[in-house]
């Protein structure tokens, strides 16, 4: 069976005043049905660009130069804006944004916004007019109740500022599920929340995957969140996928030098605070081949050629000459 989402060798560049920035340079990831895939990387590694490319909303001057984004077997890169709107967004791919405080339109009622999402994308139910509207409101109220939003019956009549941050994230999760999509993309949905709320949201997401039959692409910079939530993991460094595999395999036996170094930095694992020497290369003038080369401890090897994908001892996919 083909995977739900399969991104292969994705390259995205952005034309800027200072030159052409190669933001994504060989992203590979696979999300199987019913799984939660964590995409992990530092800020600036291209996580947001990856999400925007999948959703087909690239910033000005950006374009996908190579690669494929196969979603249910169709290449999303070949879709026009109109096709994405009519056949993909909300109806098949739901989105949970990073900042719940800023992502709802402040001057419209929550219900107005959620019904706008359903307006063009809700699955056909054979109803029309007022009956259809009532059915949609009912579905939304049911979703809000499931998300444990207080007073779900009246919530749709309220404005975003009348909810707390955690409640607004619950509203956004309900909105992502409103049109029954198969894939939900979550962009660091817990970063803006405090730790206890964060934990509740993660538990909720975990339950929803089975309950609503969705698959979740969860983008974050936090290994702790990945360990708690995800089934699979894909590590990104400077626009390149460096390592991918089941979460427990990657975390227990990291193979790529970057994954090793990054995990060594995590306060839960490190004996003392330490970082990775050097800094992330500029996408305007990246090193050829593996972009981690300038900071890597194994630089005697031919790293500046095209990077092969190998297998680690525990079976994770590693893009490093050490495993080729």
């Amino acid at each position: 069976m083909i995977p739900l989402l399969h991104v292969s060798d994705l390259h995205v560049s952005i034309r800027t005043d200072a030159g052409i920035a190669s933001v994504l340079d060989g992203i590979d990831l696979t999300l199987e049905r019913g799984r939660i895939l964590g995409v992990v990387g530092e800020s600036g590694c291209g996580k947001s660009t990856l999400i925007r490319t999948i959703m087909g909303i690239l910033p000005k001057g950006a374009r996908a130069d190579a690669g494929e984004i196969l979603f249910e077997g169709e290449n999303l890169l070949a879709f026009s804006e109109a096709e994405l709107n009519s056949r993909v967004r909300s109806s098949r791919i739901g989105f949970i944004p990073q900042d719940p405080l800023m992502s709802l339109n402040p001057v419209f009622k929550v219900g107005t916004q959620m019904l706008e999402i359903m307006r063009d994308h809700a699955p056909p139910d054979g109803l029309r007019g007022a009956a259809r509207q009532r059915a949609r409101v009912q579905r939304l109220v049911g979703l809000l109740r499931r998300m444990q939003v207080p007073d779900p019956e009246t919530a749709l009549e309220r404005y975003p500022h009348q909810f707390s941050g955690g409640q607004r994230q619950r509203l956004l999760i309900a909105a992502a599920l409103a049109c029954a999509p198969g894939l939900v993309i979550a962009d660091e949905p817990t970063t803006a929340l405090d730790v206890t709320t964060q934990h509740e949201i993660l538990l909720l997401l975990r339950e929803l995957v089975g309950e609503f039959g969705i698959s979740l692409l969860f983008v974050t910079h936090d290994f702790g969140v990945v360990a708690e939530l995800c089934d699979d993991l894909c590590v990104i460094y400077a626009g390149q996928t460096v390592e991918a595999g089941p979460v427990h395999a990657v975390l227990s036996a990291p193979a790529h030098p970057y994954t090793v170094a990054l995990l060594a930095c995590h306060p839960d694992r490190a004996d003392s605070f330490q970082g990775i020497p050097g800094s992330v290369p500029s996408p305007l003038a990246p090193p050829p081949g593996c972009r981690f080369t300038p900071r890597c401890l194994h630089t005697t090897l031919p790293c500046s050629a095209a990077v092969p994908t190998g297998r680690s001892a525990v079976g994770t996919a590693v893009k490093c000459v050490l495993y080729a």
């Binding site: 959703m55 909303i57 994405l84 709107n85 993909v88 967004r89 909300s90 109806s91 739901g94 989105f95 944004p97 990073q98 900042d99 800023m102 992502s103 709802l104 339109n105 402040p106 001057v107 419209f108 916004q113 706008e116 999402i117 307006r119 063009d120 994308h121 404005y159 500022h161 009348q162 956004l172 909105a175």
Partner: protein
């Protein structure tokens, strides 16, 4: 909501009282004798003194003010020294023409300015944006009277498309007076000839008056939309597949028009002030030309009353602006 309105109304009272005091005192600085002006050139000193006594102008300023205030409260605005009719009657007769002109200009500047501003923001740094920038410089730089005369020369004198001046041609009988608003009365009386003629007369003064406001509104709308487009929620709404037309004209625009609404409120005041010049040029029978006449003849009662009237209109428009802000952004209502 009701509390919101009442509070704003309450706040307007001291402002209007201040305006009353200041205009009353300032008009006393004008070096002309109102009694002499009223009596006319042929009057004897005895006649002037009689008038002065009749209108209480020989009383102390304080007493005069108390009398004046008492009359204002009863909506008695006095009598025009020039038309010898109650000022209130004159104003009631002329205000509809002015309001008709102002509403037409508002309609033009908002109806064109908002879409132009939105297009300029969507095509940021492209052709429509450059056109708007040129337009807004012109809107500020071009003098109203010059623009009016150019329009008259082109569309009336050269092309003969539109009438030069006035509100209705002499050959067209006025429709029956129902509301005082010429266009409305023409419609209510099914006088299509009068409606067409009045509309043709309205075009040039309304366009003149709208020009400056239009560029201002377009500029503020453009800035507001550009600002709104930066917001996370716009990305979110795109990602969730909001239809583009609805995203822009409903969800983005509602967030962008706060500054525009303020601008429209200010514009209304500007239109009343600009209307004075435009009404004079186009011989429009409204409050503006009435004011010019009053200033030229030193007609105190009229000057005082018109100033007060403009103040009241300003205050009402301000309250409406606040109210619209509240309706557009529910966060404001919750805060008060």
């Amino acid at each position: 909501m009701l509390r919101f309105v009442l509070r704003r109304c309450g706040l307007a009272v001291p402002s209007l009282f201040g305006l009353l005091v200041v205009t009353f005192l300032m008009i006393r600085l004008v070096p002309s004798d109102p009694a002499a002006a009223m009596a006319g050139d042929a009057a004897t000193p005895e006649q002037i003194a009689l008038l002065r006594h009749k209108y209480g102008l020989d009383q102390p300023v304080w007493d005069q003010f108390v009398v004046y205030l008492g009359r204002i409260v009863r909506l008695d605005l006095g009598e025009s020294a020039f038309t010898h009719r109650p000022v209130a009657t004159d104003i009631a007769q002329r205000l509809p023409a002015t309001l008709e002109l102002i509403f037409a200009s508002m309609f033009l500047s908002v109806g064109l300015g908002v879409p132009i501003g939105v297009l300029a923001a969507l095509r940021h740094n492209e052709m429509p944006d450059f056109v708007l920038r040129v337009l807004s410089v012109l809107g500020v730089a071009v003098a109203t009277f010059w623009f009016a005369i150019m329009l008259q020369l082109l569309f009336s004198m050269q092309l003969h498309w539109l009438p030069l001046r006035g509100q209705l041609a002499d050959s067209v009988p006025r429709p029956v007076n129902i509301t005082g608003f010429l266009l409305l009365d023409s419609l209510l009386g099914r006088r299509w000839d009068a409606f067409g003629d009045a509309l043709a007369h309205l075009v040039l003064p309304a366009v003149t008056l709208a020009f400056g406001g239009l560029s201002g509104i377009a500029r503020f709308t453009r800035a507001g939309v550009l600002d709104t487009l930066q917001n996370d929620f716009v990305f979110y709404e795109r990602a969730m597949g909001f239809r583009r037309s609805r995203l822009i004209w409903r969800y983005v625009l509602r967030n962008s028009v706060t500054a525009t609404v303020t601008q429209i409120g200010l514009l209304f005041g500007g239109l009343i002030a600009g209307g004075v010049v435009v009404e004079a040029i186009f011989d429009w029978p409204g409050i503006g030309s009435y004011t010019v006449q009053a200033i030229l003849t030193g007609d105190r009662q009229v000057m005082l009353s018109v100033t007060l009237l403009v103040g009241v209109i300003y205050a009402v428009v301000n309250i409406l602006t606040d109210l619209v802000h509240g309706l557009l952004d529910p966060r404001l209502l919750d805060r008060t």
